[in-house]
């Protein structure tokens, strides 16, 4: 198992804030809109440096999404910022009609995604957003794994023409990807190569997959660990290359098992290469209040859960082979 030492932990939302500031300096067409969560989204540095290009919309997310759609007419590149819940479920129809169907170049940037939002509880912990966004025709869906990758993704989407949903989070997590990485939309990143099992992970679960990889290596199991930062369009070639080698799959995401990365991978498998798959994710329930660590444990999103799922899926694979 390849080693991923880290020296620092940071929140992915700060990666977004740093990326946005850099974009503001590089491109005068970048504008930012926020619905009363500037500090939470780490958009304050952009607001301070570019007040004329920062639009405080107030607690009116529907208005924000459609204003952003309108601002693209004239060539501006709007980045909207609010919590993931208010970036998707609350404004689904606005995104559907005025952004996705209308083909507008809006970057929907969503923080506090998933249960690691923590103590605020289930009203704010959206676990369905990836599903909602990947169902929209023409929508690109990205869930980076650490500070550096989130910053790189923020920079990359500005140069991409079309609507994007960029999902990130609140807790501080290890920084284990390079600061100078080139972020390629739709291109999976391999963290470890192994022939026994494919682990496809997104967002905060990528680090958990790496931790799981170390535990598995101690048991003599070598895993392909692949970071699917872009859930749509999915890197189908990378998925198939791995599963043709390993013939069993784990998907891991801080999201419902319905509609998210797991479903996207299952679709590819059932169409091209049907093999056993186990799903790490929230299993059709709402979240609740608690610390991020407590919640990840309670909802089965830890490295140990991935290890157990690997053992199960490999057993299923081996049963198939003997049958």
């Amino acid at each position: 198992m390849k080693k991923y030492p880290y020296t620092e932990k940071k929140d992915t939302r700060s990666g977004f804030g740093a990326g946005l500031l850099e974009l503001g300096r590089a491109n005068p067409n970048i504008v930012a809109l926020c619905a009363d969560l500037t500090g939470s989204l780490k958009m304050d540095a952009f607001e301070k440096e570019f007040p004329e290009r920062f639009f405080q919309i107030g607690i009116a997310e529907a208005n924000m999404m459609c204003i952003a759609a309108g601002m693209t007419i004239g060539g501006k590149i709007p980045f909207t910022g609010t919590f993931a819940n208010f970036s998707t479920g609350r404004v689904y129809d606005q995104i559907r009609q005025s952004i996705a169907y209308s083909g507008k170049n809006v970057k929907i940037c969503a923080s506090h995604a998933g249960i690691t939002l923590g103590e605020d509880g289930a009203t704010h912990q959206i676990l369905e957003d990836i599903g909602m966004m990947r169902m929209l025709p023409g929508m690109t869906v990205i869930n980076p794994c650490d500070y550096n990758q989130t910053k790189a993704a923020t920079l990359a989407i500005a140069n991409f023409q079309g609507p994007v949903y960029l999902r990130f989070g609140r807790p501080v997590v290890p920084i284990f990807t390079p600061a100078d990485q080139k972020f390629e939309i739709g291109k999976a990143v391999t963290f470890n190569e192994g022939a026994d099992v494919s682990i496809f992970a997104t967002g905060h679960l990528v680090w958990k997959a790496i931790e799981a990889g170390e535990l598995l290596a101690a048991k003599g199991i070598e895993a392909d660990i692949i970071n699917i930062h872009t859930i749509k369009p999915l890197d189908v070639a990378a998925v198939l290359k791995s599963v043709r080698k390993t013939n069993c799959v784990i998907t891991a995401e801080e999201h419902q098992i319905n509609g998210g990365l797991g479903d996207a991978i299952a679709h590819v498998l059932s169409s091209h290469h049907p093999v056993p798959q186990e799903f790490i994710g929230v299993k059709d329930s709402f979240g609740e209040s608690g610390t991020p660590e407590q919640l990840m444990k309670k909802y089965g999103l830890e490295a140990i859960n991935i290890v157990e799922a690997v053992e199960k899926v490999m057993q299923r694979k081996n049963q198939r082979v003997t049958m």
Partner: protein, 281 residues
């Protein structure tokens, strides 16, 4: 610049186009479309600076119009084609398979003249604010126009937009509300009365004007006045009184023709009341 008489002649043709599109498609929304015909003609044939021969999505250096109540698409398509954005014969494809003239307007099929999809109500005013802000950033002194239905005032997002535009002084925006007092289930009074719109808008920091949207003279006067009031730290709203079904006697005075198509006999009757001035499509 076109005279009142010339504009009225175009509006008569637009009304024929509306009735014929809806009849040929055997579906669509004639009532509100007929009511807004005069306003849209005044806008596209006199008020706005546009380049219909070379449609560009960004519209820099042009006035922009956004239709929020997308169901009056027959009126919108007629005016766009008569203004030169596309061939008038394309109106034959309205609401048919493989058409650019979808039931509700969309950018998805790349129909020249359309800059946003609409149909799901309440969104167009926010989009118009976005376009207005973009124009300000670009130092483009052209204006943004928006049309909403009055039933649409029941959508909460409208009031998010009204609050924002007033508070942030979006003064290159002229919104028009089609006050025909009708919606699908009956009169606005019956469904959900919105009270007096003028003081509502004014209290949010807008300049509110009233207009007879079925009187061309009054319409062009009010549009000129609205334009002269732009740039004074307030968005402008025009409360436009219209008659649903205007120009076709049996479609007037009721909500019943909001969303149904006339049959052959009714179409013939309607067309007998509307002078053909530019040639039918």
């Amino acid at each position: 610049m076109k005279t009142v008489l010339e504009l009225e002649k175009i509006a008569s043709q637009v009304r024929r186009d509306i009735v014929r599109q809806v009849h040929i498609a055997n579906s669509g929304h004639p009532g509100g479309s007929l009511g807004c015909a005069d306003f849209l003609v005044a806008l596209y044939f006199r008020q706005m600076k546009i380049d219909s021969s070379d449609f560009k999505m960004d519209g820099v250096g042009e006035d922009l119009f956004f239709l929020s109540n997308g169901h009056i698409s027959p009126a919108f398509y007629s005016v766009l084609s008569r203004a030169g954005y596309f061939e008038v014969s394309e109106m034959n494809t309205f609401r048919k398979i493989d058409s650019r003239l979808q039931g509700h307007p969309t950018t998805h099929e790349h129909l020249p003249g359309v800059r946003i999809a609409s149909g799901s109500l309440g969104q167009g005013l926010s989009v118009s604010i976005g376009a207005s802000l973009s124009k300000k950033l670009l130092k483009d002194d052209k204006l943004v126009y928006c049309l909403c239905g009055d039933g649409e005032m029941e959508e909460g997002q409208i009031w998010e937009a009204v609050m924002y535009a007033g508070a942030k002084k979006v003064d290159n925006l002229i919104a028009t509300i089609d006050v025909n007092l009708q919606q699908i289930d009956g009169s606005v009074e019956h469904v959900l009365p919105y009270g007096d719109l003028k003081p509502k808008f004014e209290s949010f920091g807008w300049t509110a004007l009233e207009m007879d949207g079925n009187n061309m003279q009054n319409t062009i006067y009010t549009l000129d006045l609205a334009k002269s009031l732009c740039g004074k730290k307030k968005p402008i709203v025009i409360l436009m009184k219209t008659e649903m079904g205007q120009g076709v006697d049996f479609m007037m005075g009721s909500h019943k023709w909001h969303g149904i198509a006339p049959n052959a006999e009714q179409t013939e009757n309607a067309l007998s009341q509307l002078e053909q001035t530019l040639g039918d499509f």
